[in-house]
Symmetry: C2
DNA sequence: CTGAAAGCGCTAACAC
DNA sequence: GTGTTAGCGCTTTCAG
């Protein structure tokens, strides 16, 4: 361990009043310079003010500005979990698009509990942002409506919601049908659903499982409950699911994992058990992440149309920031399938 | 697309004055209730105030509070890139530890450019946070010192810095030596360094490459420039590096990738080329991420001691928030090697 | 083009 | 226990 010079937190900041004094103008003129209200200040005054700003190292106090005008220029993205690559890719897409409108993105973690998701909506926290994009897993329409958010909120992802909140949803049922049809066409007959749930409802797990069951039914097959593995959709869950099935002697010839992350965990588990993909077991993931595209083997995955999801979320949010008071919209991009090496070729 | 009820941004918020009026007390009493200054308000008054708060749906205005007391309870983590799993895991560890001290973590992206890293340090942006943990790639000691941050800053990661800023560094040279010795002991003789650089300096690439070269030298081997692949350390870079080497007919029997992400890309590229790991080519990554532990095959990786990195970063930051004016510290946890299936067993 | 006054919502410091 | 005063740093409004 090395020890070097002091690391104190710096000088007390200069205020607009300090700058005004140094430049021998009023604070209002400083404010006009800082905010580029061009028409309102002469070139020569501006130069003097800028020099003073530079000399004092002045920076505006965002808290004061926000208190006065109520805006921050920052949008928050709330995700259940920092670690899943999908959310990282989502954040990247959103940040790029928002930057084009002069807005900054920061990412918060909700922890995936209902109470955490609602806490973010409390005005006390939301007020630090101009708007919120929320990747929901627990909260639903009624929760959001009750929360009476004071800033525009766009819900993203899983749940079928209908009321009061702009929502960019995923094509959960359609995507699961596509994936299942693809597997059936390639000879799979016993498909394990990692992260699935046979419960009713609009949760991500339930609606994707429903799409899967519909596709089975269309092919004259009945779902088998022992192949629907409830639990998480992270790496460990995918790994554990295939390992447990194999240990229990439950036969299966395909895996539909409800996230790419779970699918990668399943690939690891299958490899560990000496099962080949796609020879012994075919695997389909969900989200079409880059991490899946670089899997071994490369991962066939449901593509929820990530670019469109991001584009719509930003469009809806910008419209609200612009003051739009139109009814809430629900947008559901159509899912497709990105076919790669983890499922067999040909039909 | 569906259209439902209105999604306006909600009611104008109630202020403390509104609550005070409703409860027939002063704003100061409301403030005391809201901030749990227990001793200063009777149970009966408190109940009345809480009822009013509930009835009006009051929430404190954080901007006003911040303007007054200068603190926000929020710590920012700045990372070059939202997508790399390593940063997600880092954010998770930091958020958990900070939560134990009642602090919230938000994640910002710097984009990995020097100007972006410095922009975050500008007081105008930093003032929204009580402190900043910065995963540096471009900025160094002098840059940070010049930035005169107004809040405590802890630098994290790659660069060897020495002055003025608390810094939790990685054991770049030591980790690279360990990894290289491990590969040499298992029979590797031609080790490709993905993301490496033979330039001088303290950059992540340069210092890890230096450790690698030192280990080669200790074994009486000379580095071969054609095996040091400059460029990125993401999935695509790892994939492209091994693909190009194979196409060019440059023989290699091992890969030292400077991140797990690049290593996973390399695994994908090797698999695609029909090369077996660890039979034909052994692979070592860096960061010891969960994503590597679930690779196919599971990834041997340099473990920078992630838990300790997070713990030290939080410890240093909390000390500064507490007002510590001690000299800047530099902490360098010792790296170790997590040995898994991508390198051969035995010695 | 420039400035003075008022106040955003809150809390520290001090009365009572 | 509770209230009063003052002011954090900025921008809106209106007067010059």
């Amino acid at each position: 361990m090395m020890v070097t010079m002091s690391a104190s937190a710096g000088t007390p900041r200069a205020t607009m009043a300090d700058v005004a004094r140094a430049a021998d103008v009023s604070v209002m003129t400083v404010s006009n310079v800082v905010n580029d209200r061009a028409a309102r200040v002469s070139d020569e005054t501006r130069a003097r003010v800028l020099a003073a700003i530079d000399a004092l190292g002045y920076q505006v106090n965002v808290a004061a500005r926000q208190l006065r005008q109520g805006r921050t220029g920052v949008i928050a993205l709330a995700v259940p979990d920092f670690s899943a690559p999908y959310y990282g890719e989502l954040a990247t897409r959103l940040a790029d698009r928002l930057a084009a409108s002069g807005l900054r993105l920061v990412v918060e973690r909700t922890g995936g509990a209902l109470s955490d998701e609602l806490a973010l909506l409390e005005r006390s926290r939301l007020s630090a942002y101009d708007g919120l994009i929320m990747s929901l897993t627990r909260a639903d329409a009624d929760d959001l409506a009750e929360a009476h958010a004071t800033r525009p909120v766009v819900a993203l992802g899983e749940r079928g919601m209908s009321a009061g909140v702009d929502h960019v949803a995923m094509d959960n049922v359609g995507g699961a049908r596509l994936a299942t049809e693809h597997l059936l066409a390639r000879g799979a007959r016993r498909i394990a659903v990692v992260g699935g749930s046979l419960k009713d409802g609009e949760s991500m797990s339930a609606s994707r499982t429903r799409g899967h069951v519909e596709a089975l039914a269309a092919a004259g097959l009945a779902p088998e409950p022992s192949l629907v593995i409830e639990g998480g959709v992270d790496l460990a869950a995918g790994y554990a699911a295939v390992t447990r099935l194999a240990d229990a002697g439950v036969g299966f010839d395909a895996v539909l994992a409800l996230t790419d992350t779970a699918a990668l965990g399943a690939l690891a588990g299958l490899s560990q058990r000496g099962l080949s993909v796609p020879g012994d077991v075919q695997v389909v993931g969900w989200d079409n992440t880059e991490s899946g595209a670089y899997g071994v083997p490369t991962l066939t995955s449901v593509d929820p149309d990530n670019e469109r999801l991001a584009a719509e979320a930003v469009r809806l949010l910008l419209a609200r920031l612009d003051g739009a008071a139109s009814p809430a919209e629900q947008v559901v991009p159509t899912a497709s399938l990105a076919v790669r090496g983890s499922t067999r070729s040909g039909a």
